[in-house]
């Protein structure tokens, strides 16, 4: 009988003396040495390829400190934000190709020179004061309760779902990225790998009726080393697979089987494709968001061997819930965002995909204009970023809000009422992605309530 001892003997003897020994993850690298030779694959031309990349900012990004009025509009902002206002002289000027609605000049947070550059070179657009709505609503209508608003506004978990579905009146938890995938997945030659890939774990956005996201880490996919498909593990692997592939009466056990099966089936494919793709020349910042977007870029680079022509990716960063110590923390987060989103754009240029890949931000809410001392609380509307070669960049879409506390856009205590709905924002991206007018109402059932189904920021 075949000895299966290779792995067992790569054991403590091999690892002895290694500082990493006590970390089991460290020991696993020994097993990595046993991975197979990977076939090289060829790059195919870009061709008919499209991808959306959702950059989710968990916690509620304070976009009112990310895109700030300058010149005559600055005083209003500075009054509202008091001690948390960014000094006007530090803001990085934006040069819109078309003046924003209502006029005025704007700058970005000083930690975002890459965003400034993307905007001023018309690779990035700013979509102003967007948020979850059921209907267009004015302050008077909100105050008097004459127009309904989504349930549980201002709650992290609920507004996250509102942003990612957006189907505010239903209990439906299928995300719009998932529903797009339900419509488009059949165009991919590869029907084993999900059209939707998340580098940041579970999310509502990518889950459709048929399509659920496949998950990778910033390192890609991980094999189960103790049952890799190698001769000396064949018997154990057979026993493992027999247990995995048994018939189970319990629904949670069946779900575990599905997850285990998918993880194993996709791992070899993903690893092989990533190893076979040409190395990326573009440098990414070594930040959490940078590492995630680098993995997305590597997957883009491997799209031909993976035989994917339509994909939707999800990455995320946390820490945006800046109730406290906002000035320092938020500056760090925005710098991370700016550096990563810019590197990712550069990578799409390197791959010849800058016209075919669009990244965009999402976040459950903006933050209150009013402050709580050294931080801000949960708001409602917020500004968002869309980046890519297919973006009609260098413009601010929608009307930047009045930043007066208790002013015409303030629902109360600086929670700014959105003037554009998430439905419009998502539908604009989806239309670029290829969503037909006839399917649009199915994916975005509330869209027709708003004046325009397309905000115009995509070519």
């Amino acid at each position: 009988m075949m000895k299966r001892r290779d792995l067992l003997l790569r054991s403590l003897q091999c690892a002895a003396g290694s500082a990493a020994f006590t970390a089991l993850s460290g020991k696993l690298q020994l097993a990595n040495a046993a991975t197979l030779q990977r076939p090289k694959s060829r790059m195919l031309a870009g061709g008919d390829y499209r991808a959306l990349v959702c950059i989710y900012l968990y916690g509620g990004n304070d976009a009112f400190n990310m895109v700030v009025p300058t010149g005559s509009g600055y005083a209003q902002y500075a009054t509202a934000r008091a001690d948390l206002a960014i000094p006007e002289g530090e803001l990085l000027p934006l040069s819109p190709v078309v003046p924003p609605t209502g006029g005025g000049s704007f700058g970005t947070h000083p930690g975002m020179p890459e965003l400034q550059s993307l905007f001023n070179s018309q690779r990035a657009a700013i979509v102003a004061n967007t948020g979850p709505l059921l209907y267009p609503i004015t302050k008077a209508e909100y105050t008097n309760g004459t127009v309904p608003v989504p349930a549980q506004l201002f709650s992290h978990s609920d507004q996250t779902v509102l942003w990612q579905t957006p189907q505010a009146e239903t209990q439906n938890r299928r995300g719009w990225g998932g529903r797009l995938a339900d419509l488009f997945y059949s165009t991919n030659v590869n029907q084993q790998l999900s059209m939707n890939i998340s580098v940041s774990g579970e999310n509502v956005f990518q889950s459709g009726e048929t399509i659920v996201p496949y998950f990778v880490s910033t390192q890609g996919a991980e094999a189960i080393h103790f049952v890799e498909d190698v001769p000396w593990l064949a018997e154990r692997r057979a026993a493992f697979l027999a247990l995995r592939d048994g018939t189970y009466a319990h629904p949670l056990q069946r779900e575990y089987v599905r997850r285990m099966t998918r993880a194993m089936d996709n791992q070899a494919m993903i690893t092989s494709a990533l190893d076979g793709a040409p190395p990326l020349a573009t440098a990414f910042p070594d930040t959490y968001l940078g590492r995630q977007l680098r993995m997305v870029a590597r997957l883009l680079s491997a799209r031909s061997s993976l035989q994917m022509t339509r994909q939707i990716f999800f990455v995320a960063a946390g820490g945006y819930d800046t109730h406290d110590a906002q000035l320092g923390d938020h500056a760090d987060h925005l710098a991370e965002l700016s550096g990563a989103i810019s590197a990712f754009y550069n990578a799409t240029v390197e791959l010849g995909l800058d016209q075919q890949v669009t990244s965009f931000t999402a976040s459950e809410f903006g933050r209150t204009l009013s402050i709580n001392g050294d931080g801000t609380d949960h708001g409602w509307g917020s500004h968002h970023l869309v980046v890519g070669g297919a973006v009609n960049g260098g413009r601010i879409y929608g009307t930047p809000p009045d930043l007066t506390i208790d002013g015409p856009d303030d629902a109360g205590w600086g929670q700014i009422i959105p003037t554009q709905s998430v439905d419009q924002y998502a539908a604009t991206l989806s239309t670029w992605y290829g969503l037909s007018d006839s399917d649009r109402d199915m994916v975005f059932p509330n869209l027709s309530r708003f004046s325009s189904p397309n905000l115009g920021f995509m070519a």
Partner: protein
């Protein structure tokens, strides 16, 4: 005389003609049973799976010996094995103490402490009343965070109202959810109170977003869930949570703003050690920073004590805090809200409303008229028929085992320790996706209502633990358990003093006979819930390992160890194990 059900079941599973029993590890015979049970090893093991960090054979035997009631009485009375002293001992030895030490303490207590039920319930509470070292505000505070965990331990069977107060004035929670130094409104500076803690204490720690029936089902109006509160309640409560700063702030200059702003964490001049003692002490109120000008809208509900749920203007910070905590604590949602969450952590993801209702009733009244008695709640959870009765395979009872609990189970079952006595398992989140007090946000590693798309959504079942069971994590958790079973065993020639290793030596005598071995782990790892199909498959496979064709020949230890390792790992990665019923 109770039927010895599991003895018969095990006999039935065994292949004909094989000897099933190894007398020294089967306790079904020769025991006086307690009236309340457990009536079998399997029942004892299953109870311990829910009530501890993993059954051991000796604890199964002991539980059978003394019965549920005595075991619970002992565990409910057992003093806390606190975590902070572990960190302080390391500091006294001159070691640098970081969050690593806090994780070591957690593993040490999970694996070795005698107050297992308390430790397990505290861990459950730590996933509900979340703070996390992923927050920059507290990542540098291992002592304070261990002290917060001890708060959960010490109140695990105390009163929830007391726990709410201690949690609220903890400087760790104060920094995590920014109630620390939260101050009254200042119109001139455009400052109003921070809403963070006000929002989350209601949404996540007590009443939730929507009105619940006594059995935890959602109250609706016109088909829509009825909200528990609105933004005005959050603002009212935010005003209550103002005026709290470090303990023992000097106010020698009359409580001037600079004294509030630059209040030291400990005595001045700073003693060493102890300069940061404020992290270990409850926050203290400053009346001059507490909002008293206006009345405060709190929760309004049938039977609310404050008229319309409004707290009048004025009052002292501590009195207003207590009035507000009473207002939250007395809300009828708290019982079913907490009952469901604790049941999910200990027993089952999808408890029936009747089960939730019974546990909520124990929260509402412990039998002596006391509301909020967590000991009574824990007892009600564990002794409920729905917890104690093994449902059939086709049911939807049970839950996915948390990855951390799979590793504690493995380590406890096979007596894992390092020769230097420490558990240097500092970053379990890398492979297992979780670690004590290390979740990404206050929403824990997973949501109570997480519902994987597909079949489970169609069946309207939740499965919180699947939220972190991503493709990489399914692989890495399997690898982490394999790295222990296959590599980290006592006597491995490369073993170092700091390596935590399981002891497979005592297992080797049972490995000669695959039936005996699989039967042993069916009890120890799976509470004898293994299906016939799985049992037979494992027996056949284990028997095939290095079998020279003559079962009468004695296997060398090396091959016995392989049998043991394969049996353990194949079980711990199997669907029947991962989903405990």
């Amino acid at each position: 005389m109770k039927a010895r059900c599991c003895m018969m079941a095990a006999l039935a599973l065994a292949a004909p003609g094989t000897s099933v029993w190894a007398a020294d590890h089967i306790f079904d015979t020769g025991l006086e049973e307690r009236a309340e049970g457990p009536y079998s090893d399997a029942e004892a093991a299953r109870f311990l799976t829910q009530a501890t960090f993993g059954p051991t054979l000796s604890e199964i035997r002991r539980l059978r010996d003394i019965g549920y009631n005595a075991w619970l009485a002992e565990q409910l009375a057992a003093p806390s094995t606190e975590h902070l002293p572990y960190l302080q001992a390391q500091q006294a030895q001159g070691l640098e103490v970081y969050q690593n030490s806090r994780q070591e303490a957690w593993w040490d207590r999970a694996i070795t402490a005698d107050d297992q039920l308390r430790q397990r319930v505290a861990f459950a509470l730590s996933e509900i009343l979340v703070i996390s070292d992923q927050s920059g505000a507290i990542e540098g505070q291992p002592f304070g965070m261990a002290n917060y965990y001890d708060l959960l331990l010490n109140q695990a069977f105390g009163n929830y109202r007391t726990l709410m107060y201690e949690m609220t004035v903890s400087p760790l929670m104060g920094h995590y959810l920014s109630m620390f130094k939260n101050r009254k409104p200042d119109a001139a500076l455009n400052i109003r109170p921070d809403e963070n803690y006000a929002r989350e204490i209601m949404q996540l720690f007590s009443v939730g977003l929507v009105m619940l029936n006594p059995d935890g089902t959602v109250q609706t109006s016109g088909g829509d869930p009825i909200p528990t509160y609105d933004q005005y309640t959050i603002r009212g409560l935010a005003h209550v949570f103002t005026g709290w700063n470090w303990a023992n702030c000097p106010r020698t200059q009359g409580g001037q703003w600079w004294e509030w702003e630059f209040c030291p964490i400990g005595p001045v001049p700073y003693p060493e050690p102890g300069w940061d003692v404020g992290w270990l002490l409850p926050m203290e109120p400053w009346e001059s920073y507490h909002a008293v000008d206006d009345s405060k809208q709190l929760l309004d509900y049938p039977g609310v004590s404050l008229p319309n749920g409004v707290l009048p203007a004025g009052g002292l910070a501590v009195d207003n805090l207590n009035a507000a905590l009473d207002n939250v604590f007395e809300h009828p949602n708290v019982g079913p809200f907490l009952a469901r969450r604790l049941i999910q952590r200990l027993v089952s993801s999808n408890p029936t409303p009747a089960y939730v209702g019974r546990v909520a009733a124990a929260f509402n009244n412990n039998g002596s008229g006391v509301r909020g008695d967590l000991g009574a709640v824990v007892r009600a959870i564990l002794m409920d028929p729905e917890a104690r009765t093994l449902a059939p395979e086709s049911s939807d009872r049970g839950k996915v085992r948390e990855p951390l609990l799979r590793q504690t189970h493995l380590w406890r079952a096979f007596n894992a320790y390092a020769n230097d006595g420490r558990y240097r398992e500092w970053n379990p989140e890398f492979n297992l996706g979780q670690a004590a007090l290390r979740s990404p946000t206050v929403f824990n590693f997973f949501l109570p209502d997480f519902q994987p798309a597909g079949e489970l959504t169609d069946l309207n079942l939740v499965a919180p633990e699947f939220q972190i069971a991503t493709d990489p994590q399914v692989a890495s958790s399997s690898n982490a358990l394999g790295a222990i079973a296959y590599w980290s065993w006592r006597g491995n020639p490369g073993q170092q003093a700091e390596d935590v290793v399981i002891d497979l030596g005592p297992e080797l005598p049972f490995a000669q006979n695959p039936v005996v071995l699989v039967d042993r782990y069916d009890l120890l790892l799976m509470n004898r819930t293994m299906s016939d199909a799985m049992y037979n498959l494992l027996v056949n496979y284990i028997g095939s390992i290095d079998n020279d064709g003559n079962p009468n020949n004695t296997l060398p230890d090396e091959q016995r160890r392989e049998r043991v390792q394969d049996a353990i790992w194949l079980i711990q990665t199997s669907p029947e194990y991962v989903v405990e019923r």
